[in-house]
Symmetry: C2
Subunit: 205 residues, 2 copies
DNA sequence: CATTGTATTGAACGGAAGTTCAATAGCAGT
DNA sequence: ACTGCTATTGAACTTCCGTTCAATACAATG
């Protein structure tokens, strides 16, 4: 009673898409082969045939998830801004608003994050991905510091990049269970309040 | 074949302690009645007898966890610091170092956080708890802003408190899977770099 | 058209989960 | 000592999980 045959890569893609849907709806821990196969209109056995094991299915989902995560790209209009701190702020704003625009991906990523605590393979994938993410902030941070080296003695580009990422992650965590209460603009305003002083020195009254 | 009888509150406490141990070792999702009962040297049925349901056991564990979380208390030597920003920084430092000193509790809290995405009761408990946490930063933040109102027009005490909490949570997330690589002091130095300028105006060269 | 390979199915299996429950044993009160 | 209450046990039940596998039908090859 087998159904239609489909070339392998498309089948994998179809099953992965179904896996994503299930994981987005029920969370990673309730993502079972049965549910995935039902969502993909496919037999449970076929899922095993293509992915060998549940664990490997989830690892493939993580790859899928990270692959389609757009790398932090500073678009032209941002890089045209004259002030280094304005550039950093603009990027922060876009990253933070991304949190509310794709909540499912955020939740799923954090599900994997928690799974990574106990699974070395997951942990490693996430570690390298977020190292890359943090690294993408580094040039921005370096520009900011270079603009006023004497005011931030002891602050390294990596440190500033790390704090930037921390703020974003903190917002992500907050928005995850407090989505409606969490005001991105308000939060950003405060962050900007801190960052502003990385730019030209304010006139001291 | 029943064993010794134990007054109810002690039994509950004993089982909760065992639940904590299991959850700390295996994570919230692998915290099963069977494992808990084994860890408590008790029959599975007794766990059900005292907690009705697995879900209620976990809710009780969450209460247990939040109850024994020390409220953010600014100790005397911190409140003796003359500079408002120094006080905020000192509190930040202590909170961040707490992340690495009790990693198990952090992980477990985040496990609940993720569970809260899909469970309203858990979500509500966490929401109020962290609202209280954020609120405890408010007076500190207000002092900082009051010291230099003209420099931070538009930044509210709530906003600054929120960013402070975001930084801490972001560090927590980071440290969870990158514990050995994550340098608290380096990270804090950068955060302090931002915060410093909330204090007395630096002499502009 | 026959053959071969393989994608596909669906039933089956073993295990572990949460929950239920009749039986039992310890304790308090009389 | 007896009675009654309840904490406690451990087995049974249902369900669902991941996984295995023999049977099957489709597609390409000859």
């Amino acid at each position: 009673m087998p159904g239609k045959r489909v070339p392998e890569p498309e089948r994998r893609e179809q099953i992965l898409a179904a896996t994503y849907d299930v994981a987005a709806e029920h969370g990673l821990w309730e993502t079972t082969i049965l549910r995935v196969s039902a969502a993909a209109n496919v037999s449970p056995g076929l899922v095993m045939f293509h992915f060998e094991t549940r664990r490997q299915l989830l690892l493939a989902l993580l790859d899928h998830l990270l692959a389609q995560t757009t790398v932090l790209l500073v678009d032209p209009e941002v890089s045209a801004l004259p002030s280094p701190s304005d550039r950093l702020i603009a990027v922060l704003r876009r990253e933070m608003s991304r949190l509310t625009s794709e909540p499912m991906r955020i939740r799923l990523t954090f599900d994997f994050w928690m799974a990574g605590v106990r699974d070395a393979a997951i942990r490693e994938k996430l570690r390298t991905e977020f190292a890359r993410y943090r690294a993408s902030f580094r040039p921005l941070a370096a520009d900011v510091l270079r603009a006023e080296p004497e005011r931030f003695a002891g602050v390294t580009p990596d440190g500033l990049a790390g704090v930037s990422v921390s703020i974003i992650k903190g917002c992500a965590v907050q928005s995850m269970i407090d989505a409606e209460h969490f005001d991105v603009e308000d939060h950003l305003a405060a962050a900007v309040g801190l960052m502003q002083h990385l730019g030209p020195a304010p006139t001291v009254g």
